[in-house]
Amino acid sequence: MDAVNKEKVISVDKLVKRFGDFTAVNEITFDVYKGEIFGFLGANGAGKTTAIRMLCGLSTPTGGAASVAGLDVYKQAEQIKRNIGYMSQKFSLYDDLTVKENIRLFAGIYGLSRKVIKEKSEKILKELGLEKEADTLAGSLPLGWKQKLAFSISIFHEPKIVFLDEPTGGVDPITRRQFWEMIYNAAHEGITIFVTTHYMDEAEYCNRVTIMVDGQIAALDSPKALKEQYKSASMDEVFYQLARKATRKGD
């Protein structure tokens, strides 16, 4: 992978989230550097989603500290939302709007001017090969194209960090790789990528990977180092070794 710029874009220090007497996230600490592809793995119920929501400014932590793009997650949550990109498997685009309308909508939400939107739209459509589909409803696009478009839209406003929540779920193998090539390009241009996935081979594409188990960080290192540490041939094996020990089985 690329030599990574040592500027920190995400800084997390003993972050905690409690729901009543249930501690979903239990003092996690890590940093993410500019231009890094940072993989965030863990079983369902391990606390991944809760942690991401805190970093996106969608949920207030119960304890600890964190800053995203230099903004404090407690006091500047609204500003964080304006400075990041986000894309998830469950929701990416409005099915009943056309491709162009979707681009305009989301770009408008992030405050880009009409002129900029027009120029960049043309550029994206060309890169994705969607020029002919500009006026097609997003809902009738095949899943893979939708996800690629959604990714482009999520970085349209050139945020410092983009959060991707299982972006390639169910997508065919070829499109999945095209998607990751887009991610590589974005990282190369300095956008930090924070991605979660259930595809263990995708974990290999990351500069560094974190595995959450029972609300805590059980591992944090490059895929290569983790495989050496756990004497495994693949990230799948590493994950299996760590996640098996989990006591928390609930959602």
Binding site: M1, D2, G42, A43, N44, G45, D96, L137, G139, S140, P142, L143, G144, G169, G170, V171, D172, P173, I174, T175, R177, W180, E181, Y184, A187, H188, H198, Y199, M200, D201, E202, E204, Y205, P223, K224, S234, M235, D236, F239, Y240, A243, R244, A246, K249, G250, D251
Partner: protein
């Protein structure tokens, strides 16, 4: 007699505003599954897996073609088929506000049986969720829900079991557990048809059909499909993976290169050897180069077949 036969099944949907556009979900699909076989239907979203399952379980009518389950026609004998199959549909579809116990008892009664009667069939699975038996199904984790759904589908000792994407959205550890369970079911002589988008799970099936946008790309055992991969394949690494991708794409002696986990997979043109590749990369300033010839994975085959069928 095959447990499942599919002959030239075609299914089209109307979509979009005013339902004007037509989407072909299944396009002339044919294959068969033998008694007691563990058969995998491998393909991404939109491949047509769910439509096919619905046709086979008789809740959807195909536009063209025939299909039979245990010798019974899916259209004419749908009532009989509904008595002998177990079905686990795509999304978790049990009653969220009923407890584990209540769900199980309900489905047992619907199938004119009791939990006790076929308990040994589900025993291995049920003991894993038994501690939660009084918990509402909606409050279980993804992996637990799938196990419960499987129990409910098995409770009446079906002849044929249809599992539609049972491991989707579930973490890798639970996925492995689930496949261990399915493998053990084989011993009960139940025919199992499973669909999944995860290529690595293909290896756990006796026979597989690769399906993409309504078309079957190949039907065979995993081993044979890999054998039919007609190219040499290298796995390649270097110190600069991003730069490596660019270098590979610029080389005209390389047919294809794509990311594949920790390595790139490279399909060389005839005559381009691994040593040639190493040399090329060294010339381009790469270090820590690793190039090795490998056997293809199901995923490599899938990608190859997709490209052939495009």
């Amino acid at each position: 007699m095959s447990a499942i036969t599919v002959e030239h099944i075609t299914k089209t949907y109307a979509q979009g505003n005013a339902k004007k556009t037509k989407v072909v979900a299944l396009n002339d699909i044919s294959f068969s599954v033998e008694q007691g076989q563990l058969f995998g239907l491998i393909g991404p979203d939109g491949a047509g897996k769910t439509s096919l399952f619905r046709i086979l379980t008789t809740v959807l009518l195909a536009d063209k073609g025939n299909a039979a389950v245990d010798g019974l026609d899916v259209v004419k004998d749908y009532r009989k088929i509904r008595n002998i199959v177990g079905y686990m549909p795509g999304r978790f579809s049990l009653y969220q506000d009923l407890t584990v116990e209540e769900n199980l008892n309900f489905f047992a009664t619907i199938f004119h049986t009791t939990v006790k009667k076929n308990y040994d069939l589900i025993h291995d699975i049920y003991i894993q969720i038994e501690p939660f038996k009084k918990r509402k199904a909606g409050a279980l984790s993804g992996g637990m829900k799938q196990k419960l759904a499987l129990c409910c589908a098995l409770i009446h000792k079906p002849k044929v079991l249809f599992l539609d994407e049972p491991t989707t959205g579930v973490d890798p550890v639970s996925r492995r557990d689930f496949w261990d369970i399915i493998a053990r079911l084989k011993a009960q002589d139940i025919t199992i048809l499973v669909s999944t988008p995860y290529m690595d799970e293909a290896n756990r099936c006796e026979k597989i059909a690769l399906i993409q946008t309504g078309r079957i790309l190949s039907v065979s055992t995993p081993a044979k499909i890999i054998e039919e991969f007609g190219h040499s394949l290298f796995a390649v690494r270097s110190n600069d993976m991003y730069g490596l991708l660019q270098s590979l794409k610029q080389n005209s002696s390389i047919e294809q290169s794509y990311p594949f986990g920790a390595y790139y997979h490279v399909i060389p043109k005839k005559g381009f050897s691994d040593t040639d590749l190493v040399q090329y990369l060294e010339t381009n300033g790469h270090t820590e180069i690793e190039v090795k010839a490998i056997k293809p994975d199901i995923e490599d085959s899938f990608i190859d077949l997709m490209k052939q069928n495009a």
